[in-house]
Symmetry: C2
Subunit: 152 residues, 2 copies
């Protein structure tokens, strides 16, 4: 019997704490240089002049950091099989250098897959909150999980 | 008169070519180690055994790469002011080492913002296609743009 969390172990309402991480200014600039070179993600003055109010992380950076928490804090303890996408990704507030993000995952819904009897799909809401208790990021996505036993 | 593309210059139906890039195996593994350490993004054998069919890029990696094309090929030629999120992000097919992704952005809709007379919002669809002509990624997001002149 595998210790990994399988589809049958998931139920709506379950919450998983994903842990926390702190974002540095160097990380923000390095990610932006590689993936999102818009001025307000690269430069303090440009950030301050923008509606973000200061040098702020690329939303894709924040999402990728939270993905790390989701992988290490949840998915790698499961028989997760990947995801086809994200239904809604909200960058609710800017993420600034020194911010500490705490993330959680909530199971919203589970359903069997007709086309693949060895898999099920769970709809998962992922949220990240900063050190002031303010939600900075939210997404919902369907994630595939292996079943312990194939559906009849 | 600024050469940058402003809100007033955008109209539904406009398409912008964002250029192309090639994804390497080292890039895929490096991104996954930092942000998405699930086995099928880290290891050839695990990738082959997965429904992805081979070592494949994290969806967040693919999205971040396409974000680079969107920033360099479009946003940095505009008076873009950031985005509050993504309405729908679809990882339609796996991205494998050596794949070349070509991206484009299409303006779907534009509207003034009541709350901010110096900004407007455009709904933009971003798609990326691999060297076989197969769409691998799609997203839609609202993007803020400065207006040349504030709304009355």
């Amino acid at each position: 019997m595998s210790d990994l969390i399988h589809f049958e172990d998931l139920a709506p309402g379950q919450e998983y704490d994903l842990g926390a991480l702190t974002v540095t200014k160097d990380d923000i600039i390095e990610f932006a240089e590689e993936f999102d070179p818009q001025p307000f993600h690269l430069d303090e003055a440009a950030g301050k002049a923008s509606i973000l109010g200061g040098l702020a992380a690329s939303g894709w950076h924040t999402a990728s950091l939270v993905m790390r928490l989701l992988a290490t804090g949840f998915l790698n303890k499961t028989a997760g099989r990947g995801s086809p996408g994200i239904n809604e990704l909200q960058w609710k507030r800017p993420v600034f250098p020194g911010d500490t993000l705490t993330a959680k995952a909530e199971v919203l819904e589970t359903k069997a897959m007709r086309s693949k009897p060895d898999l099920g799909i769970a709809s998962v809401r992922v949220t990240a909150t900063n050190q002031h208790g303010v939600e900075v990021l939210k997404w919902e996505n369907p994630i595939l999980f292996a079943r312990r036993e194939a559906a009849p």
